[in-house]
């Protein structure tokens, strides 16, 4: 009997939770705010679903209800992707080490 592909996805999921667990524990507490903004940005990879929803379909009627929801999701996710990564960048740029005394 073949293994259902769902099981593979479940394996990826479970293993990723463990990876996330260990990676996040190693994040320094002073960077917890950037951690939140960057996780927020990467979770907007949900945009791939939005792209499929908006593009795949009848080219004659691109504003079908399902497509419209896809386009709306693209706008929301794009706000997050650009906003999230840029604000993270902006915050991280502020973290400076003590200047060596001359």
């Amino acid at each position: 009997m073949e293994i259902d592909p769902f099981i593979f996805r479940l394996s990826i999921f479970i293993l990723s939770i463990f990876v996330g667990y260990y990676v996040v524990w190693s994040v320094t507490p002073s960077l917890h705010t950037p951690l939140m903004s960057v996780t927020n940005a990467i979770s907007s990879v949900i945009i791939v679903g939005a792209i499929i929803a908006s593009l795949a379909g009848n080219p004659e009627n691109i504003f079908d209800t399902a497509n419209i929801f896809g386009f709306l999701a693209i706008v929301l996710a794009a706000v997050n992707i650009f906003g999230g990564f840029l604000v993270t960048q902006r915050m991280l740029a502020m973290y400076k080490k003590k200047k060596k005394d001359k």
Partner: protein, 464 residues
């Protein structure tokens, strides 16, 4: 593009996202980490568009919407003041949640484009995954909106509770599970919309009983939810990038919630089930007036600090409210010129989100190697001459160690009272969020500075 190659690319994005989080283990590697994240995102978006290979008019619209959202996001990212970061993060969480809901709706209305079967005959597994994704997404959306309102001050930060609240939530939760099962047998569109509407309601109900100072837990929790919603959609779309990311974000938020709860010595459920602040405040007020308090002015404070050899600064939410971080840095610069050794002590739950104080200090150009976490710095108070408490309250209250009756008993606190003298900047003697009186106010070695945090700090600088 063959589905296998596509899957490899999604895997690469997933790995890059892991590296993005890994980079945050130190400020030096963090910027490169963020770049990995951006590359991962670009790959995921790029290959998705290429795999569909539809460059007709729809593609033009896609670009337009991408640019609209992107420029809005970029505008916000550049304009937002650092003090508003908690609201911003809450707002962003709500968008992820809503996007998850929208994608789930598309998938439900047109399952064939996602290879999930046909309308009215969607694969059961996909149906469960998409309704879970939609439900969690909807809860994230409204929950984050409420958190946003509370943080922004549009809604009062005090907990809103009513009789039977928790039973209502439990009932709605069970109802949701029941409806999802029912949806699997009937495939009815109305049921799907009902599930989403109830989830919207649950999001509101979950967050309104939680008070302002518990927001660090709430934001972390919503962060976690947005991840689980993404993972749910990832299972539906059979997309490994989404599944990996969802799991990463989900566990990240969960860990942050755990750290925040531990910082308050409270269980997660204790926080979720409603705030402090509902304690009897009248008894506190009556007992307060009898105790003597020493208060001073900027002159006294400047004199004390100038003659100290080491000073530890303890910032809290009040510093963020007063926007005092720049004034504080200037004061510290003046102190350093006088040869005083200065460091900063940050409590895990200081502020309204994890790491809130660190970002504000970084904004004010405070080097991150002068800023210490509770465990690193707590022993230093005994050897320090002056502790300057600016905008923090409950996290310095010695009652947490001495009075088993106190609601904050057992909470790890900064041992501010051990320093030779304590300067406590505060507008009045009012109790902090926990609604309890701070024992520190009445200590022999405490000098209260009754003023706005920023004004007081500026005046001290002048007197140095």
């Amino acid at each position: 593009m063959s589905p296998n190659i596509l899957a490899i690319f999604y895997l690469i994005s997933g790995v890059l996202f892991i590296l993005a989080l890994r980079g945050l283990s130190s400020p030096e590697t963090s910027r490169r980490g963020n770049l990995f994240g951006i590359i991962g995102m670009a790959i995921a978006i790029g290959v998705t568009i290429l795999s569909i290979g539809n460059f007709s008019i729809g593609f033009v619209y896609l670009l337009i919407f991408l640019v609209i959202g992107g420029s809005l996001g970029a505008f916000i990212a550049f304009r937002i003041p650092m003090t508003a970061m908690p609201e911003l993060v809450a707002g962003f969480h709500s968008l992820v949640g809503l996007a998850a809901v929208f994608v789930a709706i598309s998938a439900f209305l047109k399952p064939e484009i996602f290879n999930l079967g046909y309308s009215g005959n969607i694969k059961i597994a996909s149906l469960i995954e998409m309704s879970l994704g939609a439900a969690i997404g909807a809860i994230t959306f409204t929950g984050s909106i409420i958190a946003f309102f509370k943080l922004r001050g549009i809604m009062s930060g005090s907990p809103i509770t009513f009789f039977g609240q928790h039973y209502l939530n439990l009932l709605l939760g069970l109802l949701l599970i029941g409806l999802i099962f029912y949806l699997c047998t009937t495939q009815s569109e109305i049921l799907f919309w009902t599930i989403i509407s109830i989830s919207f309601l649950v999001g509101v109900l979950l967050i309104i009983p939680i008070g302002g100072a518990d927001m660090p837990v709430v934001i972390s929790m919503l962060n976690s939810y947005s991840g689980w919603a993404a993972a749910g959609i990832g299972f539906t779309l059979e997309n490994s990038a989404l599944i990996i990311t969802g799991a990463l974000v989900g566990s990240s938020g969960a860990i942050l919630s755990y750290i925040m709860c531990k910082g308050m010595n409270r269980s997660f459920f204790n926080v979720i089930l409603g705030g402090w602040g509902a304690t009897d405040q009248s008894s506190i007020k009556s007992s307060k007036e009898q105790k003597p308090v020493k208060s001073g002015n900027a002159d006294d404070a400047a004199f004390l600090m100038k003659n100290a050899s080491s000073v530890i600064i303890v910032p809290g939410y009040g510093m963020a409210v007063a926007q005092a971080q720049h004034a504080l840095r200037e004061m510290v610069d003046a102190l350093k010129k006088n040869g005083v050794k200065v460091s900063y002590a940050i409590h895990p739950v200081a502020g309204r989100m994890p790491g809130h104080m660190n970002v504000l200090l970084a904004e004010a150009n405070v080097p991150y190697d002068e800023v210490f976490e509770l465990e690193e710095v707590n022993n230093d108070f005994a050897n320090c001459d002056v502790a300057y408490v600016i905008g923090a309250n409950d996290v310095t209250n010695p009652v947490a160690k001495t009075d088993p009756q106190s609601p904050i008993y057992g909470m790890p606190i900064l041992d501010v009272e051990k320093s030779k003298s304590v300067l406590f900047v505060k507008r009045s003697l009012s109790p902090g969020y926990a609604g309890i009186d701070n024992d520190l106010f009445y200590r022999e070695n405490t000098l209260m500075l009754f003023a706005d945090a920023k004004k007081m700090t500026e005046e001290i600088s002048k007197n140095l």
